[in-house]
């Protein structure tokens, strides 16, 4: 949530650079709807149920059984959110992709409490604009 809010704060600058922003989580669309409303997000939160897309990026891991037990004891049931019984999650990751589909920025961290500042992402996008014809700003 904190990361999504921080990204929302720089969304106008992303758009100024002609870039779009999306978030992807394993949760159902209803969860994305709740997040968008609560954080007043103006970008799409996509629902990757079954984690197929996260898998294609190599981001999916299975929680060790001892952590699964701990979360169960907290009453956090991932299967309730995800619609699947396996305790799997994506590594948190932020990607910058050029319009040809090539990845120019990738920040993947095993520690979900460490996230890159949106300014780093802006710098990567500016690098893209400098290297190619500047795309039209999005509205």
């Amino acid at each position: 949530m904190m990361e999504l809010e921080a990204l929302q704060a720089v969304l106008p600058e992303f758009r100024e650079l002609g870039a779009a922003l999306i978030a992807i989580s394993p949760q159902r669309p209803s969860y994305g709807r709740a997040v968008c409303r609560r954080a007043a997000l103006e970008f799409d939160v996509l629902s990757d149920e079954g984690l197929k897309v996260a898998q294609a990026f190599g981001l999916v891991f299975t929680l060790p059984s001892y952590l699964e037990e701990l979360y169960r004891s907290f009453g956090k049931t991932l299967d309730k959110f995800h619609g699947e019984s396996a305790y799997r999650l994506p590594l948190p990751a932020r990607y910058v992709v050029d319009r040809q589909g090539q990845i120019h920025g990738a920040d993947v961290n095993a520690d979900y409490t460490v996230r890159p500042d949106p300014e780093e992402t802006l710098a990567q996008l500016r690098g893209l604009s400098a290297n190619s014809e500047r795309p039209a700003a999005r509205t």
Binding site: L7, V45, T113, L125
Partner: protein, 87 residues
């Protein structure tokens, strides 16, 4: 405050054992162990990185409308944020 400063502040509060979370020390240690094992697995380094091509995808958004990577990229560069849920 930067994003990381906000995350650090939340983490300190969460791990303090104090209200509103009241998380016992034993639970914090279990979470640290899991993060450390995940770090040592090297998976983050094996995930798609700079220079790779982004896999094509089409997923429903918060309103149930299908959004495709092809449509997004047709308009320009794209920033993708993978997140696990509450964090």
């Amino acid at each position: 405050m930067t994003l990381q400063e906000r995350l650090d502040a939340f983490k300190a509060s969460f791990e303090s054992g104090a209200p509103p979370f009241n998380v016992p020390r034993s639970a914090i240690e279990i979470m640290h162990r899991a993060t450390e094992e995940l770090r040592q697995s090297g998976q983050a380094e094996r995930a798609l990185g700079v220079g790779a091509r982004v896999p094509a995808f089409a997923l429903p958004n918060q309103d149930g409308q299908i959004v495709s990577s092809a449509d997004l990229l047709a308009g320009g560069p794209l920033v993708i944020s993978f997140f696990r849920g509450h964090w």
